[in-house]
Symmetry: C2
Subunit: 257 residues, 2 copies
């Protein structure tokens, strides 16, 4: 406890930076600086948490944790700008620890979630994954995450990359399926709003049923006649996607039901 | 108001029958009978709402609404068993009104939602779609739906079929994408639970952002190099689906951004 992380400088004022800054501040952590190239944005965020806004790493103290909330490709080159006495952590899902300039205290503080500007999130439910160049620093990052989330785990760079990769495609693809439905609805004079309670319930079912058991519909039943009828009638929805996902559902339940 | 529907016999004791029976009862409607072939299941549901359980349509009075909560292919043959004085409504999304034996008061009472046994749902948020063989009966069904939902609309058989069709595939396909993620996670020693907060947030974004605007990821950015890298590394996830959905996302944003 004597060595708990108590002071943090946040680098970056994008969506991740905003959310982590505010939740860490609310958890009693002192936010010393917001470092960012866009002075006004950095200042706005700094004002929320009584921090100093700067675009100059020289302004940082030499003892606080520096937390990078920046795009993946900026991490490596920023590390070398930080006083070697400062511990550093970064929030990327896919950058491997071993690929970065080595230092005594370098770690990962990865929240598996999609952050949207201006939209509050229940960070306490968001899983954080921790990794570090030394075990003691890892435990300190773990304890820090524990202050803002109820779900904290250690993960190797390889595990984290796979988690991140799976998260990206499941998030992107479910969203794209919803986009296709929205587009189809717009072209058929259907209010997309009418479909939202259903979609929420689809997701809500994750709380009490596995997606495997929750599956319904013609492909689940293996009803090829109905699938073909539906594909014939599609206008504006990619028939290839309809056919391919239907085939994949059929295979799922014919192989090993 | 003098002609509001006040007495209903429910035919069917599956998921739809269970949910509608209880919500209508809670809204002050008298449930006279639960009609079903499985005597014990009908009795269990009837006991919850002080109704009579029966497997014989002769037991019904000749004035209550008869509400069919049965599979699509059972509707036509059941209609002829009901006293011609009874108004009838059914809950199917895809059966056209004109395809059924005609009678004076025949209508549609379609809730656009997926119902799961033993899982409570916020029916008040569920959209109901109404249609009937005569306008006055339609208004009475509309008023009935209004007692249990805040979202009630008239829809023709054609509109309802398209709504239902869109609902089925968007629900089935998002669920299957989640299943593929679950399967992938299981094969890669990833806890699927870690992905649930992300998926909930993906769906939650529907409240404040369109799926079109919410899209992120390599396909959204048109980053073909990353897409190819990801596809190369896929093991256990259908590469065809990954490639096809990625292509569809790229097309979405290249055509008319």
């Amino acid at each position: 406890v004597g060595n708990a992380i108590q002071k943090i400088a946040i680098v970056g004022h994008g969506n991740v930076g905003h959310h982590l800054t505010q939740h860490l501040f609310n958890a009693g952590i002192e936010i010393t600086h917001i470092v960012g190239r866009e002075k006004q944005k950095a200042q706005e965020l700094a004002d929320l948490v009584n921090a100093i806004a700067t675009d100059d790493f020289e302004d940082l103290d030499n003892d606080q944790l520096v937390l990078f909330c920046v795009p993946d490709d900026a991490i490596a080159k920023l590390i070398d700008k930080i006083d070697t006495r400062c511990p550093i952590a970064y929030t990327s899902g896919s950058i491997e620890l071993s690929s970065l300039p080595q230092r005594k205290e370098l770690g990962v503080f990865y929240p598996l979630q999609t952050f949207t500007k201006g939209h509050e999130i229940d960070l306490f439910e968001v899983p954080f994954f921790i990794e570090a160049t030394n075990d003691y620093f890892a435990t300190r990052l773990f304890d820090l995450a524990w202050k803002i989330s109820k779900s904290v785990a250690y993960a190797s760079s390889k595990q984290r990359k796979e988690l991140h990769h799976t998260a990206v495609w499941v998030n992107n693809f479910t969203n794209h399926i919803m986009y296709l439905a929205q587009d189809y609805a717009a072209n058929h004079n259907i209010k997309f709003d009418h479909l939202k309670p259903l979609l929420k319930e689809t997701m809500n079912k994750l709380n009490f049923q596995s997606p495997r058991d929750a599956q319904t519909g013609p492909a689940r039943r293996g009803d090829e006649k109905i699938i073909e009828q539906h594909i014939d009638k599609l206008e504006g929805l990619p028939k290839e996607i309809y056919a391919l996902i239907s085939k994949s559902i059929q295979q799922t339940y014919s192989n090993n039901d």
